[in-house]
Amino acid sequence: MVDPDLSPMNVSADLLARGGSGLLPHSGRQSLAAERCRAAREELAECHLCAHHCGCNRLQGERGVCGAGAEARVFSAQVEVSDELEFIPAFAVAFSGCDLRCAFCITGAQSWNPKAGEPFDAKALGSRARMELSKGAQSIMILGGEPTVHLPAALELVSVLPDDARLIWKTNGHASAVARELLEGIFDVWLVDYKFGNDACAKRLAGVHDYTRVLQENLRWAAEDSELVIRHLLMPGHVNCCWQPVATWIAANLPGVKVNLRTGFWPAWRSRRHPELRDPAVASELQRAWDIAIATGVHLIE
């Protein structure tokens, strides 16, 4: 059994009190998103939305690493309370398909398959989002899979959401400069998964090259563009090779940025192909992880 006293709340109990929304209404966001949506759709003719830079013509049926075509699908749209406390309840819209191939993906069947779920319907989802906001949802979270590969649809959705809604872009941080330009000034919060602390683990577990450079470039950009929250899912056997360098880099380069260390890893999807990922993290690893968090001084939130 994992000791609940290892919770980050015991590391710094006042963190949540400082975690309130700094929301500023995005005047004109709807029209800006609509304009960017058109530009993003044009990008599909030679797709460079993510850092794989496949360059394929998705409008003509070509497919890149993500396998996504021109039309987006959604596999989940519901109010959830498992994200950061300052965001919940969040109305979370999850697009099918992703540009990474993380063996431990908790939604692998949908994230690896852009044909999963239902056809995207911006108008209907927008209406649903407004209803959930009226019922108490604190934010609208757009995620995947990876929403970057469906940037035209994501921007179309934003174009029908209230300008004063708190919008969260939950991403794997593998976007290209093209995608960043289209996303500039749109979201209130970038919630970025910083999954791997080195390129070797990223390549082995997610099939991605040049991970660290791309991820860090996106994090630096996101910190300038919006509020940034970084997540790290602690993987068993990867405390020293992944969490340690992630925490060290954040502390040195983005001091004060909120970090959510997620300790609930479970061996989902194809985790069992990797011996160290066949079980949850053990208590000693969790303790080591919290020790690293304290030593580096990262700004933990829950």
Partner: protein, 70 residues
């Protein structure tokens, strides 16, 4: 499936042999249910939206393992 109409919601729960409970895509309704199993677990009770929390009232304590969000 009817995503727009909210008729279908889903939370994944993994219960380990030692009783530890892992949860993904936690919905408010499931948060209430899990909290009822262990009202002393602050990490799960903190995730119950206020209206639902108000309606819960006092619950008897059951000795159950911790909740660990993914």
């Amino acid at each position: 499936m009817n995503l727009v109409g909210a008729s279908e919601q889903m939370t994944e729960v993994l219960i380990m042999s030692d009783g530890t409970v892992y949860v993904h895509n936690l919905t408010p309704a499931m948060a209430v249910a899990l909290s009822a199993l262990n009202p002393q677990d602050a990490r799960i009770s903190a995730r119950i939206p206020q209206p639902a929390r108000d309606s819960l009232g006092d619950k008897s304590t059951i000795d159950t393992p911790p909740f660990l969000p993914l």
